[in-house]
Each structure stands twice: as C-alpha cells, then as structure tokens.
C-alpha cells in the first residue's frame, strides 16, 4: 500500500498560513497532479510529503505509517526537482547509484538497477558523462532515473518539465505517463501548466491560496468545474465569464446579458428558481460557441451578434476575439470561416455546455 493521506494538514511560515486544513487521499498507484498558479502552495504540499518542509498541524500518512516527524530518507519516496538537482561532480551512473550506495545495496544489484533504469530511459550511452555535458532533456531523464532505481513507494515530481523547450516537454509528458503505466507506482506531480495536468493526471487537484478547490478526473474538472477559479484555470483559452441576470418569463428561464438574451434549456432550469431576478456569472468555453449560420437560424434563442476584434490563426483552428455590447468574448472557431477585423458575426451557444456561477461565492450553480 502506498497511499498518501493528508488529514487536516496545515502549514504556517511564522504568522502566514500557506496551507489551510488540507484533506486529501492520493490512492495507491495513482497519478495525481497538483495544479495551481504560482505561490498557491502546491510545491509546499509536495515538499511536505518529501519531508523537506515540516508540517505545522495535522497528520500525514504514507502507506499506513504516520510520517510527520520522519526524515526524508526514511519515507521511501523519491523526488524529481525542477532544476534536476543532479550532483554536478558525479557522472550519470554515480548520480543514479548514489542513493543505493548509501543504502548499502550490493554492487551487482546497484549495477543491475542502474542499467535497467538507463535502458528504460534510453540513457545507457550517457552513463559516463557528467551532468554539465548533458542537454536539459537528458538531465531530466537522469533525474527521473535516479528516482526510479530506488523503487520507492511514491514518486514526487516538482514541475519537472518546466525547464524544457515546448517540443521536448510534449515528448517527456508522454514518456512520464508511459513510465507510470509501466511502474504502477503512486506519482504526485506538481505543475502550473494546466495542459500538463489535463494530459497526464488520472486525477487533478486544483489549488488556490493553499486550499484545494476541486479534486477529480481531468474530464470532470473540465466539464463540471466546482467554481469560477477552476473553470477559469483549466482550459485554454480560458472560459469566458459574463455577468447577467436570471429572468423568468412564464415557465421559461432566460439569461439577460444586456447585449443579448438567451433561453436556458428546460433540463438546466432546476436550480435557477432561487436565482430569479438576481445577477449571476454566465460561463462558457471558447469552443462552445459556433458560427454556422444554420445554427443561429434554428436556435435563435441562444444566438447573439458579435463584432470581430482580433483573429489569431492557429492552423487547425482560430481564436477570435469578439465584442458584444460592452463585453469581450473569446471564441474558438473553425478555420473555414473567413473573418477579418470589424466583421459582424452571428454566433450560437451550445446551451448544453453552459455554466452558471453564483456571483457572491463564485460556486457553480450548473
């Protein structure tokens, strides 16, 4: 069993509380991604698991052992650092063997494990080189190799790909996922990059200001964000938010955003009763707006007119910045639509994918 369990864990630096009452269970063999903006406390959570930061209050279990006061070396974890943290004076082989040597593994066992890890990571030809003779991607492989030779219960990875160039990052992302499939060891992975979180995590924990906002599978987080922060943080380009008022005319509910008024489908009106006449925040993802004329004709109740401000062509798709009334909206449209600045465009919302948030506490209504 290599579950990691946080029970009411707090972390203070003097008077400042950086982690508030954290409760989280990371399941055995799971790939969990901690994601959030800089300074949200995600690295602190990881470092608490590693034993590099003391826990101010609460309990932390790895497997079934309480590890609050256990030094890092006794926690049976391995960590991959953002800046690799390789020993500059040791060659690749020595870097990977160091932990095993300190634990007094027999020489043949060390040799076997290092060579096995090197072959998994395809760095056999680099074993004699010093870290300074390696590229960023190669160093990262060595850092990962150093952690897997120990066969720990839990891997901790602190933004391991953030120093790599974009292409290499995509490659390494897939490699780390493959490695996890192969080893089936618990991985806790910290990143500020929501794409990494979405593509790698079996579950994602979104963190803001030292508190967990939502823990769920990537798809659930994307489709059913718990609040405005999660909705805005996950997804690129970010979700659009517009203030609007809930109106009820007969049995139908409408969202009035001043520039346009759209009808909420029957299936989604259940919780709207309480918000009748009140301001809410209307959220929709850029890809949930469509420009096909046939849609705006057949779904007049969910259409609006926007004026094109900026067009960003990405090849397969394009990002269009529009304004409607006083609002700015970002839409992801098909490249076949020919657009230029100042064009007027009829757009239709995919009403099954809209989100509404309470204006006061920013929690999702639907």
């Amino acid at each position: 069993m290599s579950e990691v369990v946080f029970k009411n864990v707090c972390k203070n630096y003097g008077q400042v509380t950086v982690i508030h009452d954290l409760n989280l269970t990371i399941r055995d063999g799971e790939f969990l991604v901690l994601v959030g903006p800089s300074g949200c406390g995600k690295s602190t959570i990881l470092r608490m698991i590693a034993g590099l930061e003391k826990i101010t209050a609460g309990e932390l279990y790895i497997g079934d052992r309480l590890v609050n006061d256990l030094p890092p070396k006794d926690r049976d974890i391995a960590m991959v650092f953002q800046n690799y943290a390789l020993y500059p004076h040791m060659n690749v082989y020595e870097n990977m063997a160091f932990g095993l040597k300190l634990r007094r593994f027999p020489g043949e066992e060390i040799d076997r494990r290092v060579k096995e890890a090197a072959s998994i990571l395809r760095i056999e030809h680099l074993l004699k080189r010093k870290p300074k003779e390696l590229s960023g991607g190669q160093r990262q492989r060595v850092a990962i190799g150093r952690s897997i030779v120990r066969k720990p219960q839990v891997f901790l990875m602190d933004e391991p790909l953030s120093n790599l160039d974009a292409k290499l990052r995509v490659e390494m992302r897939a490699e780390i996922s493959k490695l996890h499939n192969r080893l089936q060891t618990t991985v806790v992975y910290v990143t500020h990059d929501q794409t990494e979180a979405m593509t790698m995590g079996e579950r994602i924990a979104v963190i803001k200001d030292g508190s967990i906002q939502q823990v769920d599978t990537p798809l659930n987080i994307y489709n059913h964000p718990a609040n405005m922060f999660v909705a805005g943080f996950i997804g690129s380009p970010a979700m659009n938010f517009l203030p609007c008022r809930v109106e009820r005319i007969d049995d139908e509910f409408y969202l009035d955003a001043q520039a346009f008024k759209i009808q909420v489908p029957k299936a989604k009106t259940e919780k709207l009763e309480a918000y009748t006449g009140r301001e809410v925040v209307f959220g929709f993802r850029p890809e949930d707006i469509h420009s096909e004329p046939v849609l705006s004709e057949t779904h007049a109740n969910s259409s609006f007119t926007g004026v094109v401000d900026v067009v960003e062509l990405l090849g397969a798709e394009m990002i269009v910045h529009l304004s409607t009334g006083t609002h700015s909206i970002i839409a992801k449209l098909d490249v076949r639509t020919r657009l230029k600045r100042g064009d007027k465009l009829q757009l239709t919302f995919d009403m099954n994918k809209i989100h509404l948030f309470d204006k006061e506490n920013e929690v999702a209504i639907l």
């Binding site: 034993g51 890092p72 391995a78 960590m79 953002q82 390789l86 020993y87 300190l102 634990r103």
Partner: protein, 284 residues
C-alpha cells in the same frame, strides 16, 4: 600612430599608473633579479655566486624551512578552522549577523598593529604566560620568541587570527554557491549529515578550497611583519632574511638572491592560481 590618435584620452589616463608600475615595481624587481646574478665584488654577470653563498648559510636554510613550516601548519589550521566557521555561518542561528561582523574585525586591523597586539599575549610577561602560570601549567615563563617550533607556532597563531576571516569569506562564498536542491536531493537519497558533507559539500567546494589554498599560500610565503615584530632575527623567514641581509648586514646581492627565490616560489603559486581559475571557468 593611428592608435595614439584613437586612444589618446585612454593613454593619457593610464600613463601615470603604467609609469608608477614600471618605476616602482617592474624596474626594482628586474634590478633585484639582475643583482642576484651579479658578482658582488667584480660586478661580473651572470654568476651563481650569491646563490651558492646563501645555500651554504645556515640562517638561509632556517629561513626557508621556517617559511615552509609556517605556511604548512598555518594553511592546514586556517583551512580547517575557516571551513568549520564557514559551515556554521551557512546555518541560520540567532545573532548570525553580529557574529559575521565580529568575524571581519581582524581583517580591518593593519598587520603591524596586530603583531604589536600579539606581543601583549606572547611577551615573556604576556597574558599567555600569566594564564598558563595561574593554571599551574608552567613554573617559569616560556620565552615564546626564543626560537624553535614554539616560535613558529606563535607566528602561525598570530597569522591565523588575522587571515582566517578571509578564508571564511572565500569558503562561505563557495558554500553559498552550492544549490540547496542538491542537498535536498541528498537528504532524499538517504545521506546522513556526514555523508552529505563528505560526498556533496566537499567535492563541490573543491574549486573554492583550491583557490583559497593558493591565494593563502601566496600570502603566507610573503609573511613579513609578524615574524619581524614577534620573533626578530632569531627566527628568520625568507622575507625577513632578505630584509636583514640588506639592512643589517649590508649585503644587497645576497638579499637579492633570497628575494628572487621567494619571488619564484610565489610565481609558481600565482601560475597555479591562474591555471585553476581558468579550469574552474570551464567547469561552470
């Protein structure tokens, strides 16, 4: 001529310094080297007579070995104590800032003043004898300046007091350039405090240690004021030997030979320093 025109201002501004160095450093050094190979009686050049003479002299041999012993013991102690203090200063503790400031005081004291201060301690009626007497460790006062190993140790102590802060500063800079993540990686890899020091700190500090050693060796070979004030001519080192030959015995030619030998020793270490600092650049 074109160069003169293009860089006229630069040349004018550099000229005083260039003239100063030529007049007060380069020419005297060249003259000293020339004199060391000149026959004092006939003026013939070149000759090894001066070198043959001083190599046969007991006081020169004493001076040479005294310099070596002071450098050897001094460097070992300074590096060890300096490293311990530097390691302490990397830790966070209350009053670290004050401690760091106090540590630097000896660096601000002129060597001659520190030497005179040391005579209060090591004088035959000094504090050290008083202390040892009161502790019933000695019955009659020790003449620390009387020659032999004890005199060399006294000079080493006085030198240490003065220069260990510099060693601490140089090593501290080296220690602080080791990234914290490497220590964290070592602690996760399972290294104890000693193992971290042995396998991580020490190897990564090697460039700083080498540089400090060479810099200090250059300084230690030149040591002059401390042995001069504390021990006088009883315990010569190379620099005081050269000085005495010139000043007390009026032997400028043998003095020049002694100085040239000292110069060669120092030059060896200066080239060592340049070599190591170039190599370190490549490492980084």
């Amino acid at each position: 001529m074109k160069i003169l025109k293009t860089y006229r201002l630069e040349i004018i501004m550099l000229l005083p310094l260039v003239l100063y160095i030529i007049g007060f450093t380069f020419l005297p050094v060249m003259n000293t080297i020339f004199m060391s190979f000149q026959n004092p009686h006939t003026g013939a050049f070149p000759t090894f007579a001066n070198y043959q003479y001083i190599f046969g002299r007991r006081d020169f041999n004493d001076a040479f070995w005294n310099t070596m012993i002071i450098t050897g013991i001094g460097l070992t102690l300074e590096m060890t104590i300096g490293l311990v203090i530097a390691l302490m200063l990397t830790k966070n503790f209350k009053g670290r800032g004050v401690f760091r400031s106090f540590l630097l005081i000896p660096m601000g004291v002129p060597t001659l003043v520190s030497a005179v201060t040391m005579t209060y301690i090591f004088n035959i009626h000094g504090y050290l004898n008083e202390l040892l007497y009161r502790l019933h460790l000695i019955k009659i006062p020790v003449d620390w300046a009387g020659g032999g190993l004890k005199t060399l140790l006294m000079i080493v102590f006085a030198d240490m007091w003065k220069v260990t802060p510099m060693v601490v500063l140089l090593l501290l800079a080296g220690l602080e350039s080791i990234p914290g993540e490497v220590y964290e990686a070592a602690s996760i890899d399972g290294a104890s405090t000693w193992q971290t020091f042995r396998h991580v700190t020490l190897p990564l500090l090697k460039p700083s240690i080498t540089m400090t050693l060479i810099l200090r060796a250059i300084d230690a070979f030149r040591i002059f004021e401390l042995p001069m004030v504390l021990a006088g001519k009883n315990t010569p080192v190379l620099s005081t030997y050269a000085y005495m030959e010139y000043n007390a015995y009026n032997n400028p030619y043998t003095s020049a030979a002694g100085s040239t030998i000292l110069l060669v020793m120092i030059l060896i270490f200066i080239f060592g320093y340049l070599f190591v600092s170039e190599r370190n650049k490549e490492v980084i």
